[in-house]
């Protein structure tokens, strides 16, 4: 079964992007293997707010080049976005169908609101956070409140000493079926 993984860099105060949507506070640590991302994931799942600034970044040569892109949006129409798959109605059936297909893991790219929706549906398998040693003071939250309380299990951790980033990986306990 493919896993849905929310994998993000997060500031000490819990933001995944700065107040202007910026990412320049995330260090480019030479020890982080970005190319390896392509070997773990073959699909990007994101919300409309993340998709719009993202458009074009999956050009050949980027780590996203061969990944399928799924965009969750109640407003975007499939006919207007031929290069990606638009999911207008996010529900457990759609997500379970996705996980049951053969393939690599699915990267829940963001934003935090989509993470919240998937947590609420009980369909987040892995949470991977790179804690960046900066207080941004504001920005896009890692998980906007109010969200469903979820117990996690720490499965691995790694310190990137050059940047002071701490990478933490957790599995989310299976949700109780409603």
């Amino acid at each position: 079964m493919r896993r849905i993984c929310y994998s993000v860099a997060m500031s000490l105060d819990g933001y995944i992007a700065g107040p202007q949507g910026e990412y320049d506070w995330i260090p480019m640590d030479p020890d982080v293997d970005f190319a390896q991302l392509g070997s773990r994931f073959d699909t990007l799942l994101m919300g409309r707010g993340t998709y719009q600034p993202f458009a074009g970044q999956n050009a050949a040569g980027s780590p996203f080049a061969d990944m399928a892109i799924l965009v969750v949006s109640t407003t975007l129409r499939q006919a207007d976005h031929p290069g990606v798959t638009i999911i207008n109605d996010l529900n457990t059936a759609v997500l379970d169908q996705l996980r049951a297909k053969p393939g690599k893991d699915i990267w829940l790219f963001g934003g935090g609101a989509l993470f919240r929706s998937l947590l609420d549906l009980g369909r987040v398998d892995v949470v991977e956070v790179a804690v960046v040693p900066v207080l941004l003071g504001g920005g896009v939250p890692f998980l906007p409140a109010p969200a469903r309380r979820t117990t996690l299990s720490l499965t691995s951790n790694r310190l990137y000493s050059k940047s002071g980033m701490m990478m933490l990986e957790y599995t989310a306990r299976p949700a109780v079926e409603r």
Partner: protein
Amino acid sequence: MVTYGAACSLDLFIAREDHAVDWLIWSDEVAALTAGFWKTIDTVVMGRKTYEVAVRSGTTAYPDVVNYLCSRTMTTAPDPRVTLAEDGVELVRRLKEEPGTGICVMGGGELAQSLLEAGLIDRVGMNLHPILLGSGIPLFRRLSGGLRWDLIESRTLKTGCVYLLYHRRP
């Protein structure tokens, strides 16, 4: 040296909205870390809301340290061992100039926010718990600008908690 920190969820809450901390995981390792830290401080500074939570759980003053309670509204110290101060920023600025060992800023919220804004917090410590609370009292509030830190210590505890200690970059 002024340290602010707390045990918190992965989504950076220090308590649920009703101040409940029943989700905290205590262990021998945490006790050892706390005891080790406690040896480095001689002063505790807290805000009124944090103090009220402490009182409800039976603590009216922390032993063996000087206790300061920052409040603009309280006029009488509830315990003779606790000194009231009206302005937390002014208090900490003054304390830093006086001789002594470490100062611990306790609790979440407004006091820590004003001290961070004033550049008076030297260290931030967090014991990240393997849980997403979804809502509650945040460890950090909004700031007017960014602040960079150096990770000086990290420990993974057997319980799945991760202890991280940061020092402010000048």
